[in-house]
Symmetry: none
Amino acid sequence: MQMNKVIDILMIEDDFEFAKLLGSFLEKHNIKLKNYTDPFIGLSVPLEKFDLVILDLTLPGLDGLQMCKEIRKKSAVPIIISSARSDIEDKIKGLNLGADDYLPKPYDPKELVARIYSVLRRYKKIEEKNEPLLLDEKNSTIYLNSKALSLTPAEFEVLKILIKNYGNSVSKEQILYSSTVFANSSSNSLAVIINRVRKKISSIGSIKTVRGVGYRLVYHENS
Amino acid sequence: MQMNKVIDILMIEDDFEFAKLLGSFLEKHNIKLKNYTDPFIGLSVPLEKFDLVILDLTLPGLDGLQMCKEIRKKSAVPIIISSARSDIEDKIKGLNLGADDYLPKPYDPKELVARIYSVLRRYKKIEEKNEPLLLDEKNSTIYLNSKALSLTPAEFEVLKILIKNYGNSVSKEQILYSSTVFANSSSNSLAVIINRVRKKISSIGSIKTVRGVGYRLVYHENS
DNA sequence: TATAATTTTAAATATTTGTAAAATTTTACT
DNA sequence: AGTAAAATTTTACAAATATTTAAAATTATA
């Protein structure tokens, strides 16, 4: 996996030797591991310095599940629980307390790396959404600079397809046949709707016509 | 876990009996499972209808990893790979291809449920605390921001169906035939009830009309 | 049975989509 | 460049569909 940025991970694990070994392995994968053998000290660390937390369940003095709960109270940082207890109930409790993954010990460190990247990929996807038009299909809503656009159903369908095919042009037929909304539409009716959508998104982009074919969404330079 | 909304899951699994069994287990946890034994048919399904995909790795005719790749090409839908192959290399490949989790078979279905919720929580597909409308079917009550809404029987039925189908639109017929409350209703009577429910939930959401079809519940942005 | 609450009906209003004609832009040809 | 044909856009209005209102009918409740 291609990665330019070093990933900072906080681990709470009382087996110091294991932590050291794991740390040097992760280093090769662009991951910097900071381990605390003492959960109380680990908890006092500023969590925002880290991209992810690896939590051992069998900690001295404090239950790892309890710790997971404590972390979730103050932060949404991704958590991977790792534990020698492969008890199903522990797994379920851990995941329900807000952990993102649960990895039974012993594990192959390569799997840990894959899971770290998987969790972070998931996490990032939510963070980085800087497109001027944001499609929320479940809510049938399109946000223009995080403000909901007021669109009629037909307008929504058209813009939805254009957003989904951003970067490519879309044929008129592709739009017309995409939804029952256009069940009895002539192709001129589509032109009318395109015209109306154009006005509504004019502040951030435009719909270029691809003559003889269809349309293509483009954003303005500074968007 | 308290849950309003039914979670729609697409599964690609050639063991039909297993799928059936799992489906009825998940049902108890508010999860609706749609299984396809044929990966090619499964791939042709509109992915945006589903909240998550469960993928079996050992499929006839097509490699599961290949399938994972195909899905990722067209969608960011969460994917959990489940496989009898507990080979580390497969795990790593799967996770690196964009899967969100990898669950070796055989697994406890309870763990699957926990992992489904964990993945969806990360995707913010499910609102943990801020679900503005909470359905309590046993007590025939709907809470708006934890305050009981005053609804007539017909209003309750309508809103219940809309909440349960949050994310999808519901046809007028589907509502009308759902309960004896509407035994002798014209479709205009439904419009009147929708109108009244709209007023009651206006602070946190709205009911969008799907022209020619029915209605769909949506929540406001800041809810 | 009377009263209140709820649902239904029907008519008025409002919104969304479709149509057709005019205006504009693009293309290809001279 | 100039021009005619084709494609696309715009406009204004018509048609279809959905919403709102208020009052009548029904149902539930005391």
